[in-house]
């Protein structure tokens, strides 16, 4: 009985999951929070995006993102160099914050995804699976690549008046990385992971595999 119910993570209302039609999602009948999407068993797509993101991440960090040319002098900025420059100006905490949100969090995100997806794709369940999922959930709001890119745009406009701006290889790969990470995270449904982790336990969403009626109904 209890296994058939789910609780809304944002308002705790008990509801009975029903099967979903394609391209629909189930939302809480009281607070409209997203409850679940149709179960997508495909691990190839998230894995492909994750591996692409890993390659782009390495390129983005290895090459300068942008350079500046004024009266024969040139300077350039790498991702790590940006965090480093703040540290050298005695802004250690701010430097740590930039390093954390643009390098460390994406790196941990990608490592956790590889750790989960590669073995699962091969039919094995990684030993620390719950920990990896918890880490992914906890750090997700702290990855700020897209904000950094907007910051880059603002800086370049500010500098455009006084100097020649030279876009680096890192800039293009960093832009692509933004989309690869977003696609990897979006195509990755944690419920698939739980259904493979311990299918013997109740509540692992077998009821969503048949596709008929719509949204979630409130529990009696």
């Amino acid at each position: 009985m209890q296994s058939a119910l789910i609780a809304c993570p944002e308002c705790d209302l008990l509801q009975r999951p029903t099967a979903l039609a394609e391209h629909t999602v189930a939302r809480c009948s009281r607070c409209f929070a997203l409850l679940y999407q149709p179960l997508d068993d495909d691990l190839d797509r998230p894995l492909a995006f994750t591996l692409a993101a890993c390659i782009l991440f390495v390129i983005s960090n290895a090459f300068p993102i942008v350079g500046l040319e004024v009266q024969g002098q040139t300077t350039s900025a790498t991702l790590f160099g940006t965090a480093q420059a703040l540290a050298m100006q005695n802004m250690k905490l701010l430097s740590a914050l930039v390093f954390f949100t643009t390098i460390l969090v994406p790196a941990v995100q990608l490592s956790a995804m590889v750790y989960l997806l590669v073995p699962l794709r091969a039919g094995r369940v990684p030993r620390r699976l719950p920990l990896a999922v918890r880490v992914l959930q906890a750090i997700r709001p702290w990855g700020m690549i897209e904000v950094f890119i907007l910051g880059l745009l603002v800086s370049l406009v500010k500098l455009g008046a006084m100097a020649r701006v030279v876009p680096g290889i890192g800039l293009w790969s960093f832009g692509a990385l933004l989309f690869a990470i977003a696609a990897a995270v979006a195509s990755f449904d944690a419920r698939v992971i739980w259904s493979r982790y311990d299918p013997s336990l109740p509540g692992t969403d077998d009821q969503n595999r048949s596709r008929s009626s719509h949204a979630a109904a409130p529990a009696p």
Binding site: C31, T75, L97, V154
Partner: protein
């Protein structure tokens, strides 16, 4: 609220925020782990209101130096040195003709942090006083806060990039100001305040008010 709204807590069940499984509590509130994924389970996030208040009030205090102190200082050979606060940076973008960017920075650095802190304040006060009719709106507001908060980091990244790039001997140099550190702290603290709040408390508070008036 409809009369038949039954929550997991009402039914004495713990719901796991990591894997979504519902389970019966084994003992007292402190010793429960999710039978599927091992996450520590609590009926509600522990100390949610206290943590949220603490982070929020600290963020609000730091909001003043964040806006009043310079976020960066520019030394230019021809124009001398001048310092920029967040607002003066926006004004100079506007004057340079980049209206769209000026508006984006204004929204990300001034509007978002301010609205975010005021919204969370409204939600926290409402939960303490007992929510009556606006649960759905408050829940929607909270969901919005979770999404927009991170964009306030924009100005921090702008300062970081300018400090890195503009190190041209004899021509120009940019150094970060104390305001940048304060602003970074405001962004982080208000994100922590949002994360420590448990949105289920909004609905609990409404149910409690309905029962006890």
């Amino acid at each position: 609220m409809r009369p038949h709204d039954l929550t997991a807590a009402d039914a004495g069940l713990l719901s796991c925020l990591t894997c979504g499984l519902l389970s019966q509590p084994a003992g007292d509130d402190e010793s429960n782990a999710c039978p599927r994924c091992g996450t520590h389970l609590h009926m509600r996030k522990p100390g949610s209101l206290l943590k949220s208040w603490t982070f929020l009030v600290t963020a609000m205090i730091l909001y003043l130096p964040a806006n009043l102190l310079p976020i960066m200082e520019t030394d230019q050979l021809l124009y001398g040195s001048h310092s920029d606060t967040i607002m003066s940076g926006i004004v100079s973008l506007w004057k340079a003709g980049s209206w769209l960017l000026a508006i984006i920075v204004f929204v990300a650095s001034i509007v978002v942090p301010l609205l975010k802190m005021l919204s969370l304040l409204t939600i926290l006060i409402a939960v303490h006083r007992g929510v009556s009719v606006h649960c759905y709106d408050l829940a929607k507001l909270y969901r919005l806060l979770e999404i927009v908060g991170r964009w306030s980091m924009l100005d921090i990244f702008v300062v970081a990039i300018l400090v890195t790039l503009v190190q041209l001997q004899f021509v120009a140099a940019v150094t970060p100001g104390k305001g940048a550190a304060a602003f970074g702290a405001v962004v982080v603290l208000s994100m922590l305040a949002t994360m420590s709040f448990d949105p289920r408390l909004i609905w609990d508070s409404a149910a409690h008010k309905k029962l006890h008036g």
